[in-house]
Amino acid sequence: MKRTLQALGNWFNSRLRVKEAVMPMLEHPIPKGAAGPKGWWYVFGSASMTLLFLQIATGIGLALVYVPSADQAYASLEYLNQKQPLGWFLRSIHYWSGSGMVVMVVIHMTQVFLHGAYKYPRELTWLFGVGLLLITLGMAFSGQVLRWDADAYWGVSVGAAMAGRVPVAGPSLVEMVIGGPTIGASTLSRFFAMHVFVLPGLLLALLGAHLWLVLTRGISEPPVPGKKVDPKTYDAEYHEELKKGEPFLGDAMVKDALFSSLVVLVVVGLAAYFGPKGPHGYPDPTLIGANPRPDWPFLWLFGLLSLCPPGLETFVMLVFPILLVIGLIAVPFISNRGERAPSRRPIAVLLVLVGGTTIAVLTYAGMTAPWSPVMDAWSKDPVPVNIVKRSTPLELQGAAVFQNKNCRNCHALEGVGGRRGPDLTHVGVRLTKPQLIDQVSNGTPGGGNMPAYGKHVGPAEMEALAAFLVSLRPANHPAAKEALDPNARPRP
C-alpha cells in the first residue's frame, strides 16, 4: 500500500515537479534560536495568516446566503441567524476570527517592533506588514458596514462626515465613499465590492510579498543584548548563523501549528459561547433612538474624537491618522541598525507601553462614552427614593421638573443617568439658589457644556427646580452660601 502510494506520488511529481519547488521553501534554514524555546515569539504571524484563511472560508460560506442589497441584506442576516442551519455559527466565527485577526496582527507587529526584527535587511518586510495592518483594519470597517444595521448606516454617515471635512475635495470624496448623493443601495454595494474583492485581493498580494521576503531575507534570529545590527556585516553574520540553523519544517513549524490550532479553538469557543454580533437596529435613518457605536477596533478613535478639543478636531480626523501611518512606515528607516534586544532599547519599550496604554484607555472611554447623553434617562431612571424621602411638596415638584426637562440625560443622581454634566446628588452643597437659577437659565457662561434653559422653564417650574436642587445635600449639611466676592461664580 505504502509502496503504491509512493509510486503514485512519484508519478505525479515527475510531471508536476512540485517537490523541487516546495520542499526547499519548507526546509529553508532558520536561525537555531528561532527553532528553540524562543521560537514561541515567532508564532503570531502564522496565527494571523491562519485566521485570514478562516475568514476566507467562512466568508465564502456567508456569501452563499448573504444578499448584498440594501433592501435584503438585513433579512438575509436574520435568515442566517435564525433559519440557515449553523448560519449563526458561521457568522459568529467570521466576527470572532476577524476580531482575532486584528488582535494577532497587532501582537505580531508589537513583537517584531520590540525585538527590532524590522531592522536591516527587513525594512520591506515591515512595510508590507504595515500595509497588511491597514488592510486588516479596512476589512474590519467594511465588514461592519456589510452588517447592514443601524450601526452600519450611521457608521458610514460618520465616515462620510469625516471625509467631508477634507479641504476642497471633501464633497466629492463623500460621494465617492457612499456612491451617490445619499447612503443607500450603492453604498452597501461599494463596501461589499471592497470587502469581498478589492481588499482581499490586495491583502493576499501583500501577504505573498511579505512571505516572499520571509523566505528570501529570512526571519530574524532572537535578539541578544549587545549583539548589534550593522548593515555592513549583518548579511555575512546571518549567513554564518544559518549554517548552524535548522529547517523550518520541524520544531518551528510544529510551534506555529500548535499555536494556530489553539487560536482556532479559542475563536471557535468564543463564537459558540457569545454568538454572532447583530444585526442590531433596522437600517432606517428615520428611526430615532439609534445609538451608533463603532466596532471595537475603532472605539479608540471614537473616544479620541470625543475627547479632543474642538479646535484640534479636524486635525485629529484628517492629519493625525496619516501621521500615524507615516510614523509606522518610518520605523525601519529611523532605527535601521544597532541593538535589537528590548532590554537595550528603552525608547522602543516606552513607545509600546505608552501607545498600548493610550489605545486601551481610549477604547475603554469609547466603550463607556461618558460624553454621550443617555437619551432615555429622563424617562427610564426614576429619581432615587433616598433623595426625595423627606422632600417638601415644592421640592417634589422640582424633582418632576428635573426629570421632565431631560436634565437627567446629562446629569446623574446617585450615579445613575447621563455623565456629560456633573452628578448633581450633592449640588446643594456647591451652588446657592441664585447660582443654580443662573446656571439653568443661561447655561455655561460663554457657550460651554450646558445649554440655556431659560425659555423652556417657566418661573414656577424654575422655583420648584431650584428648591429641589438646593435640597440635594447630605443629611444635616448646610446649603451653599454666596461667596464674599460678588463677582465669584463657581462652576457646578
Binding site: 442589497s69 440594501a70 433592501d71 435584503q72 438585513y74 448606516y153 450611521w154 454617515s157 460618520v158 462620510a160 462626515a161 469625516m162 471625509a163 467631508g164 471635512r165 476642497v168 471633501g170 464633497p171 466629492s172 463623500v174 460621494e175 465617492m176 457612499i178 456612491g179 451617490g180 445619499t182 447612503i183 443607500g184 443601495a185 450603492s186 453604498t187 432606517d284 435613518p285 428615520t286 430615532i288 433612538g289 439609534a290 445609538n291 451608533p292 474624537l305 470625543s306 474642538p310 478636531e313 460624553w371 447623553p373 437619551m375 429622563w378 421632565n404 426637562k405 431631560n406 440625560n409 446629562c410 456629560r420 447655561g443 457657550g447 457644556n449 445649554p451 440655556a452 425659555k455 423652556h456
Partner: protein
C-alpha cells in the same frame, strides 16, 4: 529544471518598429479601457437633479411644534433596492404666518453637524440632542453645546398649492450643506442650470 536558455542574437531593425507599434497599440488599448472605467467609477459624482418632495398639507403641521416627518427619497436620487435606507427624515416646525401673511417653517436635517449622527428632538426642553458625542441644538437649530461646529443643516422648503415641500436632500456635510448650491456648483464644475 535546467532548460536551455534561448540564444540571443542581434535583432534586425524591424523589431524596433514592432516594439514602437506594440507600445502605441498598447497605450490605445489602455486608454480605450481605462477612460470609460474611470468614468464608471466617477459616476457617483454626477450632478443630482433638484427635486422637491411633498411632506404634506400645511395644516398637517401644528403651530409651534417640531415634528419628525419622514418621506421616501425620490427615485432620481435613489435606487429601487434601497430598502429602509431609502427613507429620509426632517424635523419640521410650523412658525405660523409672518408679518406679510406668508407661512414660515423651520426644516432641519436629522444629521448632527459634528459627525452625522441622528439627533433626537426633546419637546420638553426644546432641545435636539445627539447620542454620539453629545452635540445639543436649540429649537431654532442653533448650536447649544457640545462639539458641533455649527447649527443644524437647514433644508430648503416651499409651499405649493398648500402643500409643504422640501428639496430632496443629499447627505449633508460641512462643506456641502443643504442650504446653498453644492460645492460643485460653487466651484463652477457643474452648471447650475443643467442640474434643475
Amino acid at each position: 529544471m535546467s532548460e536551455p536558455s534561448p540564444r540571443t542574437e542581434p535583432k534586425p531593425p524591424r523589431r524596433n518598429v514592432l516594439l514602437w507599434i506594440t507600445g502605441g497599440v498598447g497605450a490605445a488599448a489602455a486608454a480605450a479601457l481605462g477612460v470609460p472605467l474611470a468614468g464608471f467609477v466617477a459616476g457617483a459624482l454626477n450632478a443630482h437633479p433638484e427635486i422637491w418632495v411633498p411632506l404634506g398639507p400645511v395644516s398637517d403641521f401644528p403651530l409651534n411644534e417640531t415634528r419628525l416627518t419622514t418621506f421616501l427619497q425620490p427615485k432620481e436620487l435613489s435606487q429601487p433596492w434601497d430598502g429602509p435606507a431609502g427613507k429620509a427624515g426632517a424635523y419640521v416646525r410650523n412658525l405660523g404666518k409672518d408679518a406679510a401673511g406668508i407661512e414660515q417653517f423651520w426644516v432641519f436635517a436629522m444629521n448632527c453637524t459634528h459627525l452625522g449622527c441622528p439627533v433626537t428632538w426633546f419637546p420638553q426642553s426644546g432641545l435636539f440632542m445627539c447620542p454620539c458625542h453629545g452635540g445639543v441644538y436649540y429649537e431654532n437649530g442653533d448650536h447649544a453645546s457640545g462639539p458641533p461646529p455649527r447649527g443644524l443643516y437647514k433644508m430648503p422648503w416651499r409651499i405649493t398649492h398648500g402643500v409643504l415641500e422640501v428639496q430632496a436632500p443629499h447627505l449633508p456635510t460641512l462643506q456641502d450643506t443643504l442650504e446653498h448650491p453644492s460645492k460643485f456648483v460653487q466651484l463652477g464644475l457643474i452648471d447650475r442650470k443643467t442640474t434643475t
